[in-house]
Every structure is written in C-alpha cells, then in structure tokens.
C-alpha cells in the first residue's frame, strides 16, 4: 500500500553573488549543513533536527572516492545517528535521491525524511582526476572528450530539425527570461546582475552577423549547490504547515552512459524511435529515451494529462525535449513554443522560474533539487515577483549523464495542497 506523501519544508544554500564571495572559505560540509538547516527552518510549525528519521542525499563524487561520505554528511548536519543513503547519479542525482526519499515515506517505514541534493565543484579533488575517475570513460573521456562536446553537438541536430534561425531566437528568448527570473530570485546566482544583452539589438544582429550574435550570448553560471525538501506522509502534513505540496508521481529511468547508444541498442521490448516519438529521419543519439520514459511514467502515476501541467522546472529551457516529452507541444515544436513567449511568466507554461540552472547556478548534483525547491515555492504561492498566476500542478524534470543528454532521468509531478 503506497501512502501519499507531502512536502512540508524546502530550502537551499544561498547562491547569490554576495554569498558566493565567501565560497573558498567554506567547505562542502558547510554548504550541505546550510541547506539542511534552511530546510528545517522553513517548516512553518517547526521541525527539530532530531525528528528526522532518515536522510537521502546525492552528490557527484566530491569528498571521497572510497565512500564514507554518508557518515561525514550526517556528522556535518549534526544529525548523528540518523540513517543516510548517498546516491550519485550525475546531473539528475537529486531527482534520484528524491525518488528514494519519497519511496521511503510512501512505503510507510518512515514518517519524516530529509532530502538534499548537493554538489561541490572540485574542493578536494581536481577536475581532471574526477573526470578520469568516472567508471564509464573508456570510449569518451579517455579519448579526450567531455560531455560538453555531446551537449554542444545538440546544436548540430537542433539546427537541422528546428531550423537555425528558430533555435537561435529561442536561445535568445531563454537568455532574456533567465535574467528576468533570476533577478527576481534573491537566492539565484545571477541575482542583481543585469542582462548584458538587449533583445531588439540581438535580433537585429542575428540577421547581420551570426558569429557576433553567438559571441555575445552570455554563458550560464556554474556554482556549488545544496537544496532539498523534507517529506512526511500526507495525513501528517497539516501538523507542519498549512500549505503542503503533494507528491503525485515520481519516476526514474536509467540508460547507458555511452553517448552514441540510442543509435544501436537492440532490445526486444523497446523501439527507441517510438519511445521518443521521433520519425526515423530525425532520430539521433540526443533523443534521450530515459527522459521520455521517466516523464511518461511520472505523469501516468500522477494520473495527469499535458493540459493539467501549469509550471515546469527542468534545469535547462534550451533542451527542447523537456517540453516535448510532456506532450505540451508537438514534437519539434518546442522552439516555436518558446519564441511565442509561452515559457514566460504570463505564458502557457512558465518554465525555469528560478532562473534555470544557468541563472541560478549549475551545480549538477543540485540542479534537479533547485528546480524542485522552486516548484514548491511556486505551488505555495510564495514566489513574490516571479509567481506564476496559475500554480496547481508543477512538473520537475532532469537529465544527467556523460553524454549530458539523458542517460538517466528523473521526473516528479507535484500538486498544490
């Protein structure tokens, strides 16, 4: 028997430029503790750290390679001797840890579970060591490639299938929205940073000098991160807050981490083109079957249709498949959807309202949970200037992997309580 689960507290570390000035002074332990206690402090009617019965967190491998981090994290949080599961699932890791945290409460075994997604970039280990230590590097990292190469390759196909002009206009719109949202989010990494480009100017440049257009597009921000929620069974929710958020459906899917895998991975039960709703001449290795499968399963478990979704919180609005996998727009119609302004605050589907990972600060282990925390804020109506007018159902999506384009994906559907 699966219990319904509610989120009663949320929080994250402060990513604003002011707070990040002290970054080198703080270790990963400080950051995760900051998030943990922010979460507990946000519970309206109070929750004591001693009340937490289990902790689920995720990271990207910082701190130790031999394990042992769970013990250190519990100590850092001041929550000895609570049980703790530590998950690593690259950029969708906090979705996976959310899934497990949810399952612990849903199963009936635990009544108060803390979930934190966090990542600290290269505090102890250096980047080269960390990359080389990946388990699945034989035919990509070892050959001198990075997942940015795969994600950049996405543009090659986007230009082909959506048209270069459309893609660039959508990218421009996303950047404008990124700064719009981030400047209304006091914890965002770009809070207080004015948008360096103007829409009209850039559109004019797009006609004349594409190279200059691309050169001027600001790149996203990468920071550390720690954010999460605390979950209780739905029947207990009102004990902690008058505005709980219910978890309707969660799903997680994993596929191989080799970037080229979707082109040839013959399983009897799956036709990857059908799974990703793609015609054969438009099928490429960036179609991310994992994203489609996890989104469909989460929506099925939540018993919702695309028309029910009000807000979406994936980490990147530039990955068009997030919108398409939900079924909100036709396949290969996401670029137009964005250009038409549907992802702005007054559009059909406000998206990445915390600024997106590029605006809030990309910290891969915390990407999904940053979106989750924003979803909770929106559904509780506490988003202030960036509050979406209709906030009943929100979907949180994410992808992760060496390919960066969705070897693994977790999706969750949340509903206002």
């Amino acid at each position: 028997m699966v219990r319904k689960v509610a989120i009663v507290g949320f929080g994250s570390m402060d990513n604003s430029p002011e707070a990040r000035r002290k970054d080198d002074l703080r270790s990963w332990r400080y950051k995760i503790a900051e998030a943990g206690h922010d979460i507990l402090a946000s519970v309206d009617k109070g929750m004591d750290p001693k009340d937490i019965q289990y902790i689920v967190t995720n990271y990207h491998g910082e701190a130790t390679v031999e394990g042992g981090s769970p013990a250190e994290i519990v100590d850092a949080l001041g929550m000895v001797p609570t049980g703790h599961s530590l998950i690593t699932d690259q950029c969708t890791g906090s979705g996976t840890s959310f899934h497990d945290a949810w399952a612990l409460v849903a199963s009936g075994q635990y009544d108060r579970v803390l979930h934190i997604g966090w990542d600290s970039r290269y505090d102890l280990l250096n980047r080269a060591d960390k990359r080389c230590l990946q388990s699945n590097v034989d035919y990509d990292y070892h050959l001198g490639f990075d997942h940015f190469h795969t994600t950049d390759m996405a543009n090659y196909f986007n230009y082909k299938y959506y048209g270069k002009r459309q893609v660039l206009e959508a990218t421009l719109q996303n950047v404008i929205l990124r700064y719009w949202y981030a400047n209304r989010n006091p914890k965002a990494g770009l809070y207080g940073v004015p948008c360096p480009i103007k829409k009209e100017e850039m559109l004019a440049l797009l006609d004349k000098d594409e190279k200059e257009f691309l050169r001027r597009l600001p790149r996203g921000l990468a920071t550390d991160g720690a954010s999460g929620v605390v979950m209780v069974p739905a029947e207990d929710a009102r004990k902690y807050t008058d505005t709980p958020v219910y978890v309707e459906g969660v799903a997680q899917k994993n596929t191989p981490n080799y970037p080229g895998w979707p082109m040839h991975y013959p399983l009897k039960e799956y036709d990857w083109m059908k799974v990703t709703n793609t015609p054969p001449d438009k099928f490429d290795f960036l179609c991310s079957p994992a994203l489609w499968l996890s989104t469909k399963e989460a929506m099925k478990r939540a018993k919702i249709e695309p028309k029910d979704i009000d807000i979406a919180e994936p980490p990147f609005p530039d990955i068009f498949m997030f919108i398409e996998a939900m079924g909100i727009c036709p396949r290969h119609g996401a670029a137009k959807f964005i250009i038409d302004g549907e992802t702005a605050i007054d559009g059909r589907l406000p998206m990445c309202t915390h600024g997106g990972a590029d605006g809030f600060g990309k910290a891969s282990g915390a990407d999904w949970s940053n979106g989750l925390v924003e979803a909770v804020i929106q559904l509780r109506g506490q988003a202030g200037e960036r509050q979406a007018p209709k906030a009943e159902v929100c979907i949180c999506q994410g992808v992760g992997g060496v390919g960066g384009m969705g070897a693994m994906s977790a999706t969750a559907v949340l509903r206002r309580g």
Partner: protein, 364 residues
Amino acid sequence: MTGIIGYGCFVPYLRIKVDEIFETWRNYPLGLVKERMGFTERAVLQPNEDTITLAIAASKSAIKNSKIPREKIDALYLGTCTNPYDSKPSATVVAEALGVNPYLMCGDVQFSGKSGTAAIQICMGLVESKLASCGLAIGSDALNRHACPGRLFEYGASAGAAAFVIGKGEPIAEIEGTCSYASDTSEYWRNEGDRYIQSTGLSPGSPAGDLYPMWEVAYVDHVKHATESLMKKLSLKPEDYSYAIFQQPFGTATKNIMGRLGFTEKQVKLGDLAGMIGDCGAASALLGLANVLDSAKPDERIFVVSYGFGAGSDAFSLRVTSNIEKKRPEVPLRKIIERKKLVNYADACRNEYKYMQDLNPTYL
C-alpha cells in the same frame, strides 16, 4: 624467391616551410638550407601522432595493398630510432592495432636511418629460412620530435613511415640480394634518455662536409662499400639498373652520391623525395622505393641503399615482377605527399612539445 609482396606508406598531413623556420631563428644562411642542402618543406607532427601511429597507418595500407589476410603475418619488425619507449616494444602496439595473430616474432629494430632496411633484412632471413611465411618490416621515424630548436638539423628533420610485406608468394619485386657494411662512426647520436639528436658538427673543408657531418668517412664510405660489395656479388653494374634510391638525410644527398657510384640523374629522379618531405630517417630510402614501385614496370631493376648514422649501410637489388601491375596501391605516395597543410613555427613547436612546462597540469 623472397620478395616484396606489397607496401604502404604514410607522411604526416602537416608541413612547415623552411622559410618559416628561418624567419624565427635566422641562424643559418637560407641559401645553405634551400639551395645547397635542398630542403623546402618538412613534416610536422600533430599532437595525436608519433612514430607508432605513423607505423600503424603505413602497415595497414601495406597489408591492404598486399592483398593477403592479416593472419598470415608471422613476423613484425618495427625499425625506428625515435621510439616512444626506451624499454618497451612499440611493435606490439602496432601488432595489436593491426589485429595480426599474436603468435608472431616481433621486435623493435634500431639502427638510426637504416632501421627500416634492417627490419627488411631480418624478415628476409626469417622467410628464407622458413621460420616465417610472411614478415612485415616497417621503417618509421619522427625525427622532427627529436630535433633541437635552433639547430641546422631542425630544418630538415621530418617524419614518415613505410611498411613492406616480405614473403615468397607472388611478390611484386624479388629481392635478388642484399649486402651491408657497418662500423663505429658516430657523426650523429642520441644518448639514453636524451631528447635531442646531436651531431659532431660540419667540416667545411671536405666537399659536402658543410652539408653533412663527416660526409666522406661516414655516409660515402659506408654506402660505397655496401654498394660495391653487392654489385660484385651479383655481377651487376650501375647501368643494369632502371632506378636507384639512396638514403636522403638532406635534399641534395642523392645528387652528391650518385656520381660517386656511377648512377645517372635519370635513374635517381623518382626516388629522390627529401627535397619535398625532408629527412624521414628510417623511412627515407623506403619512401623513395615506394615512389619508384608506384610506377615501375615488370623486369626493371631497382637499386636501394640506405644509411644509418652510427654507422651502417644496407644495399638491396630488386627486380620487379609482372605481379606489380595487379597490385598497384590505391593511393600512390605522390598523392599522400600532395595532401598537406602548412603550419607556422609556433604551431610546429607546440605540436612537437618543444617547450618546458611545470609538472602537474591539472587545470590551469
């Protein structure tokens, strides 16, 4: 009779003009380098190339052109004096990359510029004595990586590889005979663990001594002895040959040696490549041989003599057979040489790692 069943070559894609090198250093008269030594361009390695990758490219092409299954190769000898390893065989990396059967006699052969022909001699011996049915002899060198910046050697030190499959079944050219001559004469050397090849210096007194160190007693002496000994053994004269190919440590080496041995301009023309591609070390004479074989006709005789500093010389007498018409390579060497891109000196230095950096490049 033992012969060459097929061959393949490779010359790196990037080249640099000697004028570029001169613009940076201005250390030797350009006329010396271009007119007297005969250099125009030489090869530059890309960061992803070295002796082993050149050897693999040449061998793959050789096996393909020989039209034999790769399982038949049971000897593989890599001749190089610029081995990436001091104490580990590079031939095994080549063997694995080719996918030849692991039950093979294998080894690296080092005799400076004549490493490739020494490898051919070893394969000949194994085939003749029936210890092997087919041998792959490779001459591959990347002298440019081991040429000190700012030295005369840098202008011509190049890179290249040529691989020959030696066996008895339908050869395209029979090896009528071979003779060698060696003695301890160190006009160039590179000690254990050293990066750069050094020379004893030019001696402007003797003719061509201002182009190559100890020219007379090193190059001319050994080449002459090997040549004369072979011709005597086979009772042949220079006039009996349609082509003659010499080791080319500099562009005008062929011109300087041919008269001494009685060969003419017409015979040496096809085999004279250093003016275009520089000094390819162990592949020098072999690339010239490949160029000749690309256009040789049946029954023509070819004379090949290589030379390695340190010093020694191998001479071969070949006779082209009728099988050559069926086994012309798909891509002639001429096309590989034409396929090139010029780079500047900064790129060449960076590609060939001729700078100092600190030890731990983790991020910045």
